[in-house]
């Protein structure tokens, strides 16, 4: 029986929860059982956010153990490094390169840029896709479509048990009608580039 373990992570407010819900809903439409768990509460105030997502039969627990994720979907490079121990050997990663500075960095004068994180990821992950999410959002004209750009990249990896069109169908039922076209465009951003 096929099982897929997915880990989404980033910083509160980046649209991670919606991305996770879209994958879950699409899997359900395909009759694949889904379990998931995510950070809730204080995390929304600029904290680290993650979502464990599991697709397949005979799963007991919404979380999975370290070294179990088939794919890591990281909306922020340091958060990718933080959750990297969950990626299985040979697992794939899709990572947004735009770094988000925590408030403590401004107070303590940290020089965190994100580059040190992507350099580390390049050493550790053989199948790594880096996404310039900021550039993509700028070209698409909205900071709110980062999650669709990321999902577009993820669907190219062949890890999810459905294709882009199936996810697009779910998205159309989920987002407000006036945003459907923009989100479709964002999902296909990779094809445009």
């Amino acid at each position: 029986m096929m099982q897929t373990n997915i880990l989404l992570c980033g910083v509160g407010g980046q649209g991670i929860v919606l991305a996770s819900k879209l994958i879950a809903a699409t899997a359900m439409a395909e009759d694949i059982p889904v379990k998931s768990a995510e950070t809730i509460g204080m995390a929304q105030k600029g904290g680290s956010v993650f979502s464990f997502l599991r697709l397949g039969e005979n799963l007991h627990c919404p979380m999975f153990a370290p070294k179990s994720a088939d794919i890591l979907i990281a909306f922020e490079p340091a958060e990718a490094v933080r959750m990297l121990p969950y990626l299985k050997d040979g697992g794939k990663a899709v990572v947004n390169t735009h770094a988000i500075m925590p408030v403590t960095a401004a107070l303590k004068g940290s020089n965190y840029t994100g580059n040190e994180m992507t350099d580390h990821l390049k050493k550790k992950v053989s199948d790594l896709t880096l996404v310039d999410g900021s550039k993509a959002c700028e070209e698409l004209g909205s900071p709110k479509v980062l999650n669709m750009v990321m999902l577009g990249e993820v669907l190219k990896k062949g890890v999810l048990p459905f294709d882009l069109e199936k996810l697009e169908e779910t998205m159309k039922k989920t987002v407000k009608p006036q945003f459907v076209q923009l989100n479709s465009k964002a999902l296909r951003y990779r094809e445009m580039a």
Binding site: V11, K21, A24, A25, A27, M28, P33, V34, K35, S36, A37, E38, I40, G41, M42, A43, K45, G46, G47, S48, H60, C61, P62, M63, F64, A65, P66, K67, A78, V81, R82, L84, P85, Y86, M101, P102, V103, T104, A105, A106, L107, G109, S110, Y112, E116, M117, H120, K124, P143
Partner: protein, 605 residues
């Protein structure tokens, strides 16, 4: 039946509705909040839903409804049950006519709570049956069982999920609307021998409760959600007893291991003794995998003693399982590995990873609490003072650079802690900070106590007109109810006046100079005086245009960053910059800047 993707808390609410729910009340608290919110969202008009002023009021309301034959549910987090424990203990003696669930969500970790208390103890203490689900599907099914037991035995029952069940999601089988049970309450039937608690009634009830619970340990031994897994066993001399989310960790961890016998306990009280005997039969050793306290472990030790069984019981008592915090699949794997003589797995440490930025929770950009704390800090500069905090977003005022919360204990405690400190340190200016929802929940009696007993202190009410911490629930100061009514607000100034507070001033904290002057003026008076800092929660209002920093005027002194710690002000390419996506234009930083370098959008253009 059909499938839906639901959060554990939503599944509990939906299960309750499908079981015949008529009334649900509660007080918000992570990880329980979404139960009541889901019930409200699914209210077809037949439900009465209420965010009550606190857990005690909520429990009493649900009890009253159940006296009339209603199916009711009260929701709270574990520390909420401390507040509601007075009616809980007595209600256990009185019982109910319809059915009543007391939903109490426990928080191992703790992730967002003051304590790691275990509600399974409260079940034993109050002698009420308790249900403990492991998965989202089980929570949905089990809450319906809980209503049936409550109805049958005419007693309230406790239902206690933990955070990972409350906040987990799964695609589960739920009933169609037509399959719902509809309960029609008979109404209140007067009977003083039943509803009026007196020593004689309590004595008789006590006898009845003990008899019923003895019967329930038998009944629960047959309850299908308490079970032993024996088909897949390969290790015949060892057993694992577990519960809740730890049961799922155990099943994941056992993948590929010669499985010992497993017992899952879904009703920790009354403990299913006959089932436990069956489980223990022929075993040499048992490992108990639990979160919070060793409840099952001690029950098994008791059963072994009672029946003279020679089985060694391992767990928290013996130091084999960590006494505090959450379990994980990895920690449970290692507990099992140690128990079975297998090799433990080391945590995956990425030793050559670069230093990761820490993202502690902070007050939002534009949060009026930041301005309130800063105003009091400025006004009290050089003055010996103590700042007692309370429960809510504003507990985050303790973080640097504000550093304005010296104490925090439990809901509403700050008022009388301030009073106590003032009695011992009369030369200190004592301040109590309390949010508007916490004020209504449990600070009012404290204010009366302080006023009447001649305290000398300043009460600061941080009034952002919502319950922000748990996701913006209405309270008596908001003028809204969960039934969608727009009602008269309870006025905080009028309440304080009624309590005898002599001086009450209201000021907008975002007007910094006025706020500082107000604090200086009011705190110099004697007795109990109050300042209401009134400004809406930044998350709930449409943000103003973000501010700009005039690069010619800015001398990079970083006073804005070092004094306010607003996430909207960052350093980019070595320069102080306003993060446009976060700034709500509250203007506090522009009042702090000594060089007048921060201004509105128009100034920059």
């Amino acid at each position: 039946m059909h499938k839906e993707f639901l959060m554990g808390n939503a599944a509990i609410a939906r299960g309750a509705i499908d079981a015949g729910l008529n009334v649900v009340s509660g007080y918000p608290g992570t990880p329980s909040t979404e139960v009541l919110e889901t019930a409200a969202k699914n209210n077809d008009g037949s439900l009465y839903v209420e965010w009550s002023v606190n857990e005690k009021a909520a429990l009493e309301l649900s009890a009253g409804a159940a006296y009339c034959g209603a199916y009711s549910m009260v929701t709270m987090k574990q520390v909420g049950l401390n507040v509601a424990s007075d009616p809980l203990m007595s209600l256990a003696y009185i019982g109910v006519k319809g059915a009543m669930i007391i939903l109490v969500a426990d928080d191992p970790g703790p992730i967002s709570s003051q304590t790691e208390q275990d509600t399974r103890h409260f079940a034993a203490y109050s002698k009420l049956p308790c249900f403990d689900p492991s998965t989202v599907q089980e929570a949905y099914d089990m809450i319906q069982d809980a209503f049936e037991f409550s109805k049958k035995y005419k007693t309230p029952v406790l239902f206690r999920p933990t955070t990972r069940v409350c906040h987990g999601y799964a695609s589960i089988e739920v009933k169609d609307k037509e399959e719902r049970y509809i309960n029609k309450p008979e109404g209140f039937v007067k009977d003083a021998s039943k509803w009026v608690i007196f020593p004689r009634l309590s004595y008789n009830s006590h006898i009845h409760i003990e008899k019923r619970n003895a019967e329930l340990t038998e009944v629960f031994s047959e309850y299908k959600k308490n079970f032993i897994i024996s088909e897949t066993i390969k290790d015949y001399k060892r057993g694992i007893a577990t519960h809740g989310i730890s049961y799922t960790y155990t099943m994941e961890a056992l993948d590929g291991i010669d499985s010992p016998r497993i017992m899952k306990v879904s009703t920790p009280f009354p403990f299913p003794e006959a089932l436990a005997l069956k489980f223990l039969e022929g075993l040499d050793e048992v490992l108990c995998i639990e979160e919070l306290d060793p409840v099952i472990e001690k029950e098994l030790i008791y059963v072994c003693g009672k029946y003279h069984l020679n089985v060694r019981i391992y767990g928290k008592v013996t130091g084999n399982v960590t006494p505090a915090g959450e379990n994980t699949i990895l920690s449970v794997y290692n507990n099992i590995a140690q128990f079975m003589g297998l090799e433990e797995k080391k945590p995956e440490n990425d030793n050559d990873a670069p230093e990761l930025p820490i993202r502690p929770p902070v007050l939002c950009a534009g949060c009026p609490h930041r301005a309130s704390f800063y105003a009091v800090k400025k006004a009290m500069k050089g003055v010996k003072s103590v700042f007692c905090g309370d429960i809510g977003c504003y507990t985050l005022g303790n973080a640097m650079p504000l550093d304005m919360v010296d104490t925090c204990l439990c809901m509403g405690a700050g008022v009388n802690i301030t009073q106590g400190i003032g009695k011992i340190e009369p030369d200190t200016k004592c301040f109590a900070f309390v949010g508007d929802s916490t004020f209504f929940a449990s600070a009012i009696t404290g204010v009366i106590n302080a006023v009447y007993n001649q305290a000398d202190m300043t009460l600061i009410v941080l009034d952002n007109s919502t319950t922000a911490m748990t996701g913006h629930q209405p309270h008596p100061g908001t003028g809204r109810t969960m039934m969608g009514q727009v009602v008269d607000k309870v006025d905080i100034t009028a309440v304080l006046k009624g309590c005898g507070v002599s001086c009450i001033e209201t000021v907008n904290p975002l007007k910094l100079d006025e706020a500082v002057e107000c604090v200086k003026r009011v705190s110099s008076l004697t007795g109990v005086k109050a300042i209401i800092f009134k400004s809406p929660c930044a998350v709930l209002i449409k943000p103003e245009k973000p501010l700009f920093i005039d690069s010619e005027k800015c001398r990079q002194c970083k006073k804005c960053i070092n004094e306010l710690g607003c996430p909207g002000i960052v350093i980019k390419d070595g320069k102080v910059t306003i993060e446009r996506s976060l700034c709500s234009g509250c203007g506090l930083c522009s009042q702090v800047c000594p060089f007048d370098a921060i201004g509105g959008a128009d100034d920059a253009n």
